[in-house]
C-alpha cells in the first residue's frame, strides 16, 4: 500500500543566541493507511520536533533546511495556511504529553470540547446550538470511558485528575480525527495503573475507527505493546526501523542494543553498563554518524560519513550503521 505520509530527508535547525542547533539531520519516515507506528528515543533526540514539523507547529526560531513532508499529496512545507488548518482540523490531530498544559485552565471542559466539535466541519457550525454541542460532547466523553460526563463537562481542567484530563484530551483529538492521531508521550505523566488504562483505551478507539497512529515514547514497553512498526531515533536521525517484535528480539544498531539492555527487567537480571557519554551538542554535532563518540564499534568511516537508513534483511528491517551498510 502507498504511504500517505512521507517525511523525506527532513533537516530542521533552531536559531538560538548560542548559535544554531542542528537538531533534525535528514529524517526519513513513512506511514501507511491504518498503520501503527512507534518512535522511541531518549529526551532531546528530536521525536517531538519531527511531529511538530509534520503539523507545522514548530517554534518560531525553527528553520527548515531541507527535505520535505508530503501528506495525502499535499506538500506540508509549502501548503497555504487555510488548507493546512483544514487538514489539521480533520485529518491530523495530536495528543500532547502533559494534559495539564494542553487544556486552557480558564475554560470549562464543555467550552473546550464544544469548540473542537463545533469547528470540526462535520456540520454547519453556525447552526450548532449549545444543546447539540453538549449532546455530542457527552457522547465523546462516554467514548473515552469517563464516568459522569455531565459533571466533567461542567468542570475546569484543574478539577479533574491527571488520568481524566488525558482522557478529555483523547476525546478532543478523536472527536475530529479521520486519518492520523499523533500521540506524543501520552502516558508519561500518568501513574502506571492509569497509564495501562489510557493505553488500552487509545488502542481500542484507534482500532475501532481504523486510524493510523504515531506513538512517541521513551518508555520502550509502552511502544512494544501498542504498535506494529518501530522507529528508533538518536540525535536527530532515524537510526533503525523494523517490525516491533523483530526490533525487540534482534536489535541491530549499537545504540538500540545498548538502550534495550539498559532497561531494568522484571525478571531481575541486574543492570547493564548503560551507554557511556550523553547525547551530543547540537551546535557542533559530531561529523559522520552522530552516535560515533559513544559507540564502541566506531570505525574510521563513522567519523566521516553519515550512514543512511538502509534495509539489511529482506524483511524490511532497516538500520543506519556502517557495521551493516558496508557493501
Amino acid at each position: 500500500m502507498e504511504p500517505f505520509l512521507e517525511v523525506k530527508n527532513l533537516s530542521v535547525g533552531f536559531k538560538t543566541y548560542l548559535g544554531k542547533l542542528n537538531v533534525l539531520n535528514g529524517v526519513d519516515f513513512t506511514l501507511r493507511e491504518s498503520e501503527k507506528v512507534g518512535i522511541i528515543g531518549e529526551s532531546g533526540c528530536g521525536k517531538t520536533s519531527t511531529m511538530k514539523a509534520i503539523l507545522g507547529i514548530l517554534a518560531s526560531n525553527a528553520v527548515i533546511e531541507g527535505g520535505g513532508i508530503s501528506f495525502r499529496g499535499h506538500d506540508m512545507l509549502k501548503i497555504r495556511k487555510k488548507q493546512l488548518n483544514q487538514i489539521r482540523r480533520k485529518n491530523l490531530t495530536m495528543i500532547f504529553q502533559d494534559p495539564t498544559a494542553a487544556l486552557n485552565p480558564v475554560f470549562k471542559i464543555e467550552e473546550l470540547l464544544g469548540d473542537v466539535i463545533k469547528y470540526s466541519g462535520d456540520f454547519d457550525h453556525e447552526k450548532a446550538t449549545k444543546k447539540v454541542l453538549r449532546k455530542k460532547s457527552i457522547e465523546a466523553l462516554k467514548e473515552v470511558s469517563l464516568p459522569d460526563p455531565e459533571r466533567v463537562l461542567d468542570s475546569y481542567p484543574f478539577q479533574l485528575s491527571g488520568g481524566m484530563r488525558q482522557r478529555v484530551c483523547i476525546a478532543m483529538s478523536l472527536a475530529t480525527a479521520k486519518d492520523l492521531l499523533i500521540a506524543d508521550e501520552p502516558t508519561t505523566s500518568l501513574d502506571v495503573t492509569i497509564q495501562d488504562q489510557v493505553l488500552r483505551l487509545m488502542k481500542d478507539l484507534v482500532n475501532k475507527r481504523n486510524l493510523s497512529i504515531i506513538l512517541i515514547s521513551h518508555a520502550l514497553g509502552t511502544i512494544r505493546n501498542t504498535v506494529d512498526t518501530v522507529y528508533v531515533m538518536y540525535a536527530g536521525n532515524m537510526i533503525e526501523s523494523s517490525e516491533t517484535a523483530k526490533l525487540f528480539s534482534n536489535p541491530l544498531h549499537p545504540y538500540t542494543q545498548g538502550l534495550l539492555k539498559s532497561v531494568p527487567k522484571l525478571s531481575g537480571e541486574g543492570f547493564s553498563e548503560g551507554i557511556p557519554g550523553r547525547i551530543p551538542d547540537y551546535i557542533n554535532p559530531p561529523p559522520g554518524c552522530r552516535f560515533n563518540p559513544r559507540c564502541k564499534h566506531a570505525m574510521e568511516i563513522c567519523r566521516k560519513e553519515r550512514p543512511r537508513l538502509l534495509e539489511v534483511n529482506a524483511d524490511n528491517h532497516k538500520v543506519a550503521c556502517w557495521l551493516y551498510n558496508k557493501g
Binding site: E42, R224, L266
Partner: protein
C-alpha cells in the same frame, strides 16, 4: 553495625498535613524496618505517601505521631531538633537533580558544603582532597568537574554530584527518593551501578523509593507496596515477584509495560487496572483499595484489614486474599 541488624525501625508512623481543603492523610500508621546493609524498597504511585515517608525519616517533616528509631535512638522529630551526630549519619538523594543542586555554586562547593558544616575537613586543602575522592567515587573525573556549575552538567552527571554530596559525611543510611526517574534509561543504568557499588564499598543501607517495579526488582532485597498512605504488602523481592498476593500489587504488576516474553509471563493475568486513586483527604472506609478492587466484599468496605503472614517474611493486609 553488623549486617542484618535493625538499623531503622519505623513504628506507627503518621503524617497529616492541614490544608484549606481538609486534612491530607499522607501517611497513616505505617510500620517497617530497614536492616543494616540492605536496600529496602518502597513502591507506590504518586500520592501514595512514599516520598513523605522518606522526608519524615530524614526529619524534613515532623511526624504527626509514631516513632522513628535509628540505631536504637529516637529520631521522631524535625531534623533541627536532632543531635548533630545523627545528621551526619542520614543522607538523601532527591528525585530531580536540576532543582536539588544550587545553580550558583560550583560542584566543589556543593559537595564541600556538608564537609564544612559537619567540620569533617578543617582546611581548604583537606576539603579539596576529599571532594576529589568523592567525585572519583561517583566516576566523575575531578579535574573536569570541580569547577563546573550544575547547569553545565547532563542529568546523569548532576545526579552523580548529588550522590557524592550524600556520601560526603560517611552516612550509614541514605534515602533514595526516585533517584533515576528524571533520567533516561541508558543513564539510569549507569547511576544504579554506581549506587550499588557504593553500597558494597561503604556498607550503606538504602531506603529506595520508586514507582518503577522493574527497577525495584533489580535493586532491593525487600519490598513494601504503599497504597493511599498505607502499606498493603511486604515481601523479600524474589518472593514478591513470584507470588504477589494483594490485588493492588497484582494490578500494579499487570500494568507494567515490559520488553520480553519472559517478563510477560511474570505478570498476573487475572486482574486488569481500573478506577483511580481516591482522595487522601477522604480516604475510603475499611480497606482503602476496595473502590478499585474486583474482589471486594461487604467486609472490605467496613473493616480495615490487618497484616497476615502468608509465608515466611511475606505479609499482606487483605481480607479476601488471606481468608
Amino acid at each position: 553495625m553488623e549486617k542484618n541488624e535493625d538499623l531503622l525501625v519505623v513504628e506507627n508512623l503518621t503524617k497529616h498535613f492541614k490544608t484549606s481543603f481538609g486534612v491530607v492523610r499522607a501517611i497513616d500508621e505505617i510500620n517497617f524496618t530497614v536492616k543494616s546493609g540492605e536496600t529496602f524498597g518502597l513502591v507506590g504511585e504518586s500520592g501514595s505517601g512514599k516520598s513523605t515517608t522518606g522526608y519524615v525519616v530524614m526529619g524534613i517533616y515532623t511526624p504527626t505521631s509514631g516513632r522513628i528509631l535509628f540505631k536504637g535512638n529516637d529520631l521522631s522529630m524535625h531534623a533541627k531538633k536532632r543531635p548533630k551526630s545523627f545528621k551526619k549519619d542520614l543522607a538523601i538523594v532527591f528525585q530531580d537533580p536540576a532543582s536539588s543542586l544550587n545553580p550558583t555554586k560550583t560542584v566543589k562547593d556543593v559537595i564541600g558544603q556538608p564537609l564544612r558544616i559537619q567540620g569533617l575537613a578543617k582546611t581548604r586543602e583537606e576539603r579539596d582532597k576529599r571532594v576529589s575522592e568523592l567525585l572519583d567515587a561517583v566516576e566523575l573525573p575531578p579535574q573536569d568537574f570541580k569547577e563546573r556549575r550544575p547547569k553545565d552538567l547532563g542529568g546523569g552527571e548532576r545526579q552523580a554530584v548529588a550522590i557524592a554530596r550524600a556520601i560526603a559525611t560517611n552516612p550509614s543510611f541514605i534515602v533514595l527518593d526516585e533517584p533515576t526517574s528524571a533520567l533516561d534509561v541508558s543513564i539510569q543504568a549507569k547511576i544504579m551501578k554506581v549506587l550499588m557499588r557504593l553500597q558494597q564499598e561503604l556498607n550503606l543501607s538504602y531506603l529506595f523509593i520508586t514507582h518503577d517495579l522493574s527497577l525495584m526488582r533489580n535493586v532491593s532485597s525487600r519490598v513494601a507496596i504503599m497504597y493511599l498512605a498505607q502499606i498493603v504488602e511486604f515481601a523479600p523481592t524474589p518472593i514478591f515477584f513470584r507470588n504477589p498476593v494483594h490485588p493492588y500489587t497484582q494490578m500494579l504488576l499487570s500494568s507494567i509495560p515490559v520488553l520480553t516474553d519472559d517478563e510477560e509471563k511474570l505478570k498476573p493475568k487475572e486482574i486488569t487496572s481500573r478506577g483511580e486513586v481516591p482522595s487522601a483527604i477522604n480516604p475510603p472506609s475499611g480497606c482503602r483499595f476496595h473502590t478499585r478492587c474486583p474482589f471486594a466484599t461487604e467486609k472490605c468496605k467496613t473493616k480495615q484489614p490487618s497484616f497476615v503472614t502468608v509465608e515466611p517474611e511475606h505479609q499482606v493486609a487483605c481480607h479476601v486474599a488471606t481468608k
